[in-house]
């Protein structure tokens, strides 16, 4: 596994809630995971076990409490735990994609530009970025008449497809997917499955949480059952 894309080793995370009597909530302890190119590892376990917490620690919007998160970034394996924020920003720009369950977009921005935004941040020209955005929205079956509108008023399933298109716009080497299909019908779920399969084909490493077991079976190459953290 020397070509691993993501290695999580001994990851710990405890939330300290200062205003609820200072209680401590241990969620992860000694969590390990290795993920290679072309793989899709599916995290499973009961609600509240810490699946989303793992993804958020890797993406850096939760601060890991200990351990190592090694990501292959531009050919080098670098540890994100304790990394400089400039490094983290660069890793997010180029290497790590993250699709959460809900879309969070700037008001007033047309859907096409919401999806093109990660490409623009990489310096891709506006025309090319929009073309790629259009291609993804098309594949996800979002009606073209919606592309020029801001997504805030869209249905749950439409917003979720915008979010997925945005997450797949850049061909990230590592993709983190947190229930990206929760609001989608069967036809749209299979469109998303095809996108994930394509990503695996090009060598992306995917770490996913999918409540729909048929979907997980279709796209997953390995399942990882999470156990409760030691107190």
């Amino acid at each position: 596994m020397s070509a691993a894309s993501l290695v999580v080793h001994g990851l710990g995370k405890t939330f300290r809630l200062a205003h609820r009597g200072g209680i401590e909530l241990p969620v992860l302890s000694g969590f390990d995971l290795t993920l290679g190119p072309g793989e899709c590892v599916v995290l499973i376990g009961p609600s509240g076990i810490g699946k989303s917490t793992v993804l958020r620690c890797v993406y850096g919007n939760y601060l890991p409490g200990g351990g190592h998160i090694l990501v292959r970034h531009g050919g080098r394996l670098i540890d994100l735990v304790g990394a400089h924020h400039r490094t983290m920003m660069e890793v997010r720009r180029r290497t790590l994609g993250y699709v959460s369950q809900f879309l969070r977009a700037v008001p007033r921005v047309p859907t096409l530009d919401v999806v093109a935004d990660p490409l623009l941040r990489l310096g891709v020209a506006v025309g090319a970025a929009r073309a790629r955005a259009a291609e993804l929205l098309e594949r996800l079956g979002l009606p073209e008449r919606l592309w020029s509108l801001p997504p805030q008023t869209f249905s749950g399933g439409e917003q979720q497809r915008v979010n997925i298109a945005r997450g797949f716009a850049v061909e990230y080497p590592v993709l983190l997917l947190d229930e990206p299909t929760a609001a989608l019908d069967a036809a749209n779920r299979s469109r998303v499955a095809a996108l994930i399969d394509d990503a695996k084909q090009r060598g992306a490493a995917v770490l996913g949480i999918f409540h729909d077991l048929d979907f997980a079976d279709a796209v997953g190459t390995r399942f990882l059952r999470m156990a409760a953290a030691e107190r």
Partner: protein, 273 residues
């Protein structure tokens, strides 16, 4: 790294990080017996947006005023890297050189357009003035550039010769931004730039700012009390309380997993940002 090495996956050395554009250390300011700012340190990189949040009286505007030469701190330093790569302490630069820096490298956007615009001259002249300060002389070129900037800020260039008081509050604020950005500053200070505007006008202005900041790769320090604004615009977030920075990190990390008790309270007491 011994446990990671046990996996035979020792990480490579951490990537080198370029030097910051601005490095502030130990900034402090008292007004009489009141401490407005104490021991504030942070670094800012080119093209990076840092939001400063915190409750009223926390010292946010004091920090901005001290950095941008509108007020003088009692202690501390603020090293600024100029285009030629040399660094200067802007707090000890002297008035003349600081004014020069403000003209060529920096921009300030005030909450109240009245503080950032000249109401006695036309909208176009407000923008052209900044260009002339930086050496522009050719009238036709300047007029074209001013028209272009008004358009970028969604102001009809036909209205170039009108006085700013004939503009709406949102338009005045966009005019102020055009005046500031036309000279392509490397660092911009913004204090509640959307404060007096209603919500839909705010959203539009924020989107414009976001796009411009990315296109011009300008670094910015943005004071706001609105966590949603910070989430939308800022790469990093500094939380101030009683004159001190109590937490500083990537914006989504500070908002989604706040570490300091005060930040936890701040995040919990507002609607989801």
């Amino acid at each position: 790294m011994s446990d990671a090495a046990a996996l035979e996956l020792a990480p490579d050395a951490a990537p080198a990080v370029a030097p910051p554009l601005l490095a502030a250390r130990g900034l402090a300011k008292r007004y009489g017996r009141r401490t407005a700012m104490a021991d504030v340190s942070f670094e800012l990189w080119p093209g990076e947006v840092l939001a400063v949040v915190g409750e009223s009286g926390a010292g946010k505007s004091t920090l901005l005023r001290c950095l941008s030469g509108q007020d003088e701190p009692d202690a501390g330093e603020a090293m600024y890297r100029r285009l030629d790569g040399t660094a200067v302490d802007v707090l000890r630069l002297g008035d003349v050189r600081r004014r020069l820096l403000l003209r060529t490298d920096w921009g300030v956007i005030h909450q109240n357009p009245r503080d950032g615009l000249r109401f006695g001259v036309s909208a176009g002249a407000n923008v052209a003035e900044r260009l002339m300060e930086n050496g522009a002389r050719h009238y036709a070129d300047m007029r074209a550039e001013v028209a272009d900037w008004l358009m970028r800020l969604e102001i009809d260039p036909e209205r170039m010769d009108e006085l700013p008081h004939t503009f709406s509050g949102g338009m005045q604020q966009r005019l102020q931004i055009a005046r500031c950005l036309v000279t392509r500053p490397r660092l911009v200070f913004l204090d509640e730039p959307t404060g007096g505007l209603d919500v839909s006008v705010q959203a539009r202005l924020l989107d414009l700012l976001r796009t411009l900041v990315r296109e011009l790769e300008v670094a910015a320090i943005l004071v706001t009390h609105d966590l949603a604004v910070a989430r939308m615009l800022a790469d990093r977030l500094a939380v101030m309380r009683d004159g001190r920075v109590v937490e500083l990190g990537l914006t989504d990390q500070v908002l989604d997993d706040p570490q300091h008790p005060y930040t936890q309270l701040l995040v919990a007491s507002v609607l989801p940002a």
